[in-house]
């Protein structure tokens, strides 16, 4: 299937090239925004530029990894709407893997490279004190973030099973979540922070692991081990996503033909 997709994508060469570049552009802009913010103030939310970029790097690395793998799940609403999910359900493979490989995002390769580069540069820029747990965390944090974003992607796509015309609702949580995690959580306030950072768990994607990597205490008062445990947040998120997804597939109604 992977090979098949590659061949069908490359049968439209020009559009493929533009897609690759377009995809890269949006991620670059996200990172630049952080730099622009720090031109206006040297310390934001209690963090310096380098520290904030580490969070951005974690968020972006997690997001691009996830987006490269399950980003297409966004298309689920198209399949549900048109009833083409029928075809997918008729094949002897899981629905999720098929959706993922149905549109293998070769165009997202550059974006992944860029995201990982930002993360790498940010790690170097902070002169971290490399202890073994930190090395492990540095590797696991973006992966945990990717899985967490993946769960959010699956959850928001599942909405399409109930509301056929779910439109951009899901994107509020996926792309919104990415933008949220690109900044230190301490810049947000009130119920908004409580909801996104802790109730939905976005603080554990980049903010908490970054604190642990930097060896800084949390200005918001969580203990230090929380940062090291942060990648584990992806587990309950995955569980919830899996349950919702399964009940969604059963709720699928197809279209008349």
């Amino acid at each position: 299937m992977v090979a098949g997709k590659f061949r069908s994508v490359t049968s439209y060469r020009a559009s493929f090239t533009f897609e690759v570049l377009g995809n890269l552009g949006s991620t670059v802009l996200d990172v630049l925004t952080v730099f622009v913010l720090f031109r206006a103030a040297t310390v934001v939310g209690g963090f310096t530029l380098a520290e904030a970029v580490l969070m951005t790097g974690l968020a972006v690395a997690g997001f691009v990894l996830c987006d490269a793998v399950v980003g297409n799940i966004d298309d689920l609403k198209k399949y549900v709407r048109s009833g083409t999910l029928d075809t997918i359900l008729l094949r002897p493979l899981g629905v999720l893997p098929q959706l993922v490989f149905l549109d293998l995002p070769i165009r997202k390769v550059l974006r992944v490279a860029f995201g990982l580069t930002v993360y790498g540069v940010a790690l170097r820029a902070n002169h971290l004190d490399w202890t073994p747990p930190r090395v492990l965390l540095a590797v696991l944090a973006p992966l945990g973030g990717a899985v967490f974003f993946g769960a959010i992607f699956v959850l928001s796509a599942s909405v399409a099973f109930w509301w056929v015309d779910s439109g951009e609702l899901g994107n509020g949580f996926t792309y919104g979540g990415r933008d949220f995690t690109a900044y230190p959580v301490s810049v947000y306030g009130g119920w908004f922070r409580d909801l996104f950072a802790y109730a939905l768990g976005f603080a554990f994607v980049s903010y908490q692991p970054a604190l642990a990597l930097l060896g800084r205490g949390d200005p918001l008062g969580l203990p230090a081990w929380a940062g090291f445990a942060a990648p584990l947040v992806c587990l309950p998120a995955t569980l919830v996503a899996a349950l919702v997804w399964r009940s969604g597939v059963r709720h699928y109604r197809s279209t008349g033909s």
Partner: protein, 320 residues
Amino acid sequence: MIRIENVRKDFTVRVKAGRLRREKRVIPAVDGVTLTIEAGEMVGYIGPNGAGKSTTLKMLTGVLAPSAGEVSVCGLRPVPQRTRLALRIGVVFGQRSQLWWDLPLRESFGLLRHIYRVPPAEHDARLRRCRALLGLDEFLDTPVRQLSLGQRMRGELTAALLHGPEILFLDEPTIGLDVVSKQAVRSFLGELGRTGDVTLVLTTHDLADIERLCRRLVVIGRGRVVHDGTIEALHARYGSRRRLVVDLETPLPTGLVLPGASLTSVEADGHRVTFALEESSAGAAVAALVAAAPVRDLSVVEPDIEDVVARLYAGASGAP
């Protein structure tokens, strides 16, 4: 092979009721269908638009979960055991493509071989057979998007059979096809059915498909089975019989009674008469007629299944 018992599928639709208010309404698409299909059968599943044909098929293939009732296909429950079932059934939806839009058929088939994990030797043997029977060779390397509907449908049939399914479900396989392609599809399915390795379940609006292919006919209307049996049984039940149409040199002698036939109409001053045949053989009636009057021309007309079905549909969609 297939056993469904009291299966229902309800759809909830929201209907506008006033400016902002919308009412929920439950519509039973399939309303208590019970059906058993044995291995090797060829079953035609027909009904008017919206009767629940496709919905039933989708429940049998694991696409839709039934709202109530038991479904068992190849001894598996379609929705929970969907992927296992998919290896054992083949499905062709006339209005939905299983093929990769941008790839030539040859490569689509290759991909399907990997997806269904078919050993290369089996795959090649099946593909060779389909190529010969369906004449695929001339367009095997054309991308699917450039194929005509008839060519694509032949490709779809092949795609559904390459993993050697035990049951083949066809949802309107001849829809939109021209006469030649329809013939090709029908004779291929006929060939397939004769071997008896594959159970065929097909829905269609073209009754010629059924007459050519299926001994058993299931008619569904408003989500319920209204007929299940042979085509002959359908005719017997709805009183449609074969007709004997005769052109005579002289008007029909009055009071003539033929064995096993009854006079239904007299036209052209008694020069053209029609009898309804009560028995399967027209021999006795024809012999008696030829003895009684000078016959110019004579034909036996098969009952028109379209008429019967149209009446059946009208009955099914009439009073609840």
